[in-house]
Amino acid sequence: MDLVQLQRQLVDYRTSLYHEGFLDEQFTQLQSLQDENNPDFVVEVVSLFFEDSERLLNELSKALEQQIIDFKRMDGQVHQLKGSSSSIGAHRVQKLCIVFRNYCEAQNVEGCLKCLQQVKHEYGIIKTKLESMFQLEQQILNAGGSIPV
């Protein structure tokens, strides 16, 4: 695939992520902060998000396996996940976290378990999509092109 085709593919892919509600305006804000002094800013922030999310999802899984479930602590963890997904524009994950928090508040185990599965699922999707997008960007850079805004 030539450079122009790659750039076209990236623009289309990015647009679809917004249209399908995977990303929101906050992701655009992140991109606008990236510059020549900080060319890897978006990748760095998103990588932090991946690490942080995986840690939180593990902790939430463990919390729901306990004999006595600490809903307050779980709520705090979901709040963190909601915050970080909001900060990078991971729209679907953020929305699910709001539902998740309601179940924590209601101390509804079934609801929490279901929500956790859904959050894990959505997180997996956005992770794959963002990684694909970054790979496309890298291909463009390697071909000597620039990333279209």
């Binding site: 902060l33 900080n38 760095e44 932090l48 942080d52 909001s86």
Partner: protein, 172 residues
């Protein structure tokens, strides 16, 4: 005693070009506003740091209310020695403090109250939160916060902050 060549004497007197640049950079930095940013989220710290640097502020990020109190010298004593109008303490100049509201341990609100009850009380404090809770907002404003901002912050939000910083400059 060795006779020094005239070129050597000239070199010793004048600073090297790199040193001159460093001195200028240092002076520039000292003139910039310094913001202390407090947030327990590593992602939000990175974002805030970038937003502030993009607006030409100097930034120090800490991960908790306790670390912020430590930085300000408020952790173990109730009030350090009186400050100059530039808010210098322990060699630190701080022109603005931005803190997240929900933090484990010392919350943003706790931090706000401690600051307002100390010799740092004239430093503007901005509280940030991902939740739009009216009672929380009024509580912080009544507690002395200059501004309450909703996360995630954007570059346009930083303009409001600039107004607060300019207000806090000493009048001639």
């Amino acid at each position: 005693m060795e006779l020094m060549k005239s070129e050597n004497i000239v070199q010793d007197r004048q600073p090297q070009p790199q040193e001159e640049e460093e001195i200028m950079q240092q002076e520039e930095e000292e003139q910039r506003f310094h913001v202390l940013a407090v947030d327990d989220s590593v992602i939000d710290r990175k974002l805030l740091e970038k937003l502030l640097k993009a607006s030409s502020y100097q930034v120090t990020c800490v991960e908790s209310g306790e670390k912020a109190l430590e930085y300000l010298g408020l952790l173990h004593h109730s009030s350090p020695a009186s400050s100059s109008s530039q808010h210098h303490h322990q060699g630190h100049k701080v022109n603005l403090i931005m803190t997240d509201f929900s933090m484990p341990g010392t919350s943003g609100y706790d931090l706000l109250k401690r600051i307002k009850g100390s010799s740092w009380k004239d430093v503007p404090v901005v509280v940030m939160s991902s939740e739009n809770v009216p009672s929380r907002i009024s509580m912080c404003l009544e507690g002395g916060a200059e501004e309450f901002m909703l996360k995630p912050l954007q570059l346009s939000d930083l303009h409001k902050i600039q107004a607060h910083l300019l207000k806090s400059l000493p009048h001639s």
